[in-house]
């Protein structure tokens, strides 16, 4: 009895890149392989764990995801799936990028997968010039190279600028 109360109360403090602290229940934190490994390796739960790559807004989202998934029983997969799609629904690209980075850093596989899938779905039907802008990528092809690839794969570029 006493130990279960103790377990329930066990919390971690996470600190975002912009200095905000988040108190997280341990079972929620365990959704993250990174945090799990830190806890396993005797990292005291009294310590504040800094997450220097993740801002407060993103961390709040990540922890919302973890809490939902930690609390839901495995039998409620359908409910989780609809939570997942709702969770990402109106998110803009910047937020998605932050989320995918955070999920990657904190090693939360489920979140990484759905965020990556969402980004993929968004760029799927976009012309490559637009994808360049979304990812802030410089075009390093010469015009000749680009034309050659397009010429060779005309079927993939039909209807695209």
């Amino acid at each position: 009895m006493a130990s279960s109360i103790e377990n329930n109360n066990e919390k971690l403090t996470l600190k975002s890149s912009d200095g905000e602290e988040f108190l997280v229940e341990k079972h929620v934190a365990l959704q993250s392989t990174l945090l799990q490994n830190m806890l396993d390796s005797d990292c005291s739960s009294a310590d504040v764990i800094p997450l220097p790559k993740i801002d407060a807004r993103t961390l709040a989202l990540v922890l919302g995801y973890c809490k939902k998934h930690a609390d839901a029983s495995s039998s409620k997969q359908g409910e989780l799936n609809s939570f997942d799609s709702e969770f990402l629904k109106d998110m803009d690209m910047g937020a998605l990028f932050n989320l995918v980075l955070a999920a990657n850093f904190m090693e939360i596989k489920g979140l990484l997968d759905i965020a990556a899938q969402k980004i993929a779905d968004t760029i799927k039907d976009k012309p490559h010039q637009e994808v360049r802008e979304i990812f802030h990528v410089e075009n390093d092809y010469t015009p000749e190279e680009e034309a050659a690839v397009r010429e060779e794969n005309r079927w993939a570029f039909e209807g695209f600028p």
Binding site: D55, N98, D113, A116, Q117, A120, F135, N153, R154, F160
Partner: protein, 311 residues
Amino acid sequence: MEEEEEDHYHCDPNCDKLPDEVLGLILMKLSDPKSLLRCSLVSEHFASILFQSQSLSLRLPSSGPSSPLVQSRHVPPEYTDDRFFKDALLLGLTKLVSRFTRVRSLHIELSCECPQLPFTPDYRFSWDFKVVHNLKTFAILSKSSIEKIGKEGSESGQPRNNSYLDRLDGKYIKQEITCSMHYANSIYPLLLLLVSQQPDIKSVEIVDSKNHGKVSIQGEQLAKLKKHMPNSMPRGNSKLVPGYSFTVWYVPSLWLPRSGFVMKRVTLGVGSENPFPSSIDDRIRGLANGSKQQPLRDSCPRIQIDRSREL
């Protein structure tokens, strides 16, 4: 450990570029051949991340006007005299797959088209391939590209090295036969027929007439198939037979469970005028009763090998 890393990451995530592994993950989730090709034009770095991927999943559109499989007009002139490319029009897709030189696992999904069926199949066929060696060229099958795979792969104890290689040497390689396999379009109705006649069936294996490969369905997949069974199966084989259709797939590596070989860079073609002989019922029963593989005969699903030129 984390404290050491801290100093390197003071940058706001927004100005960070995505790490390569995350970018790779995103690109892998595109699954659409056209999107993949377009993304390869974003930048050289994008292309290198993309084509380094070890696993590739392709979901192919059914052969509508946008399908790469039905467009002959983009086949370069130097290939138009080639029967394979003229008929199969796989060039674009084949080229795309061939650029994934490190691919180790390939998953292909295609929608199953059976225009003659009285219902629309509502799920797709998928193939999974494990690639044993690096993919360098494609659509070339030669003696050196056939390799015995290790213990985990081989099911049958006795590989038939000599006869198999001889057969390849004597027939397929020298004659460069254009392929023909009825799988995609004929196996779906065949499966439906099996499941409708044998509701308690636990696993299905369908082997082509020359033992070059098989389709194996059990457990969850089979349950799914049963769930999607139409209420009334059409009687009479003629209604199950699509008139004529042709689809071709390039497979970097095809595991042949009986011989224990892996065929590399294989082209699988699907095409037939009449994939089901009238006596099909007997063979189906044979297949269903024993879990043994009973090869269907010549007029049934068949894989042959195509050896196309290197591009």
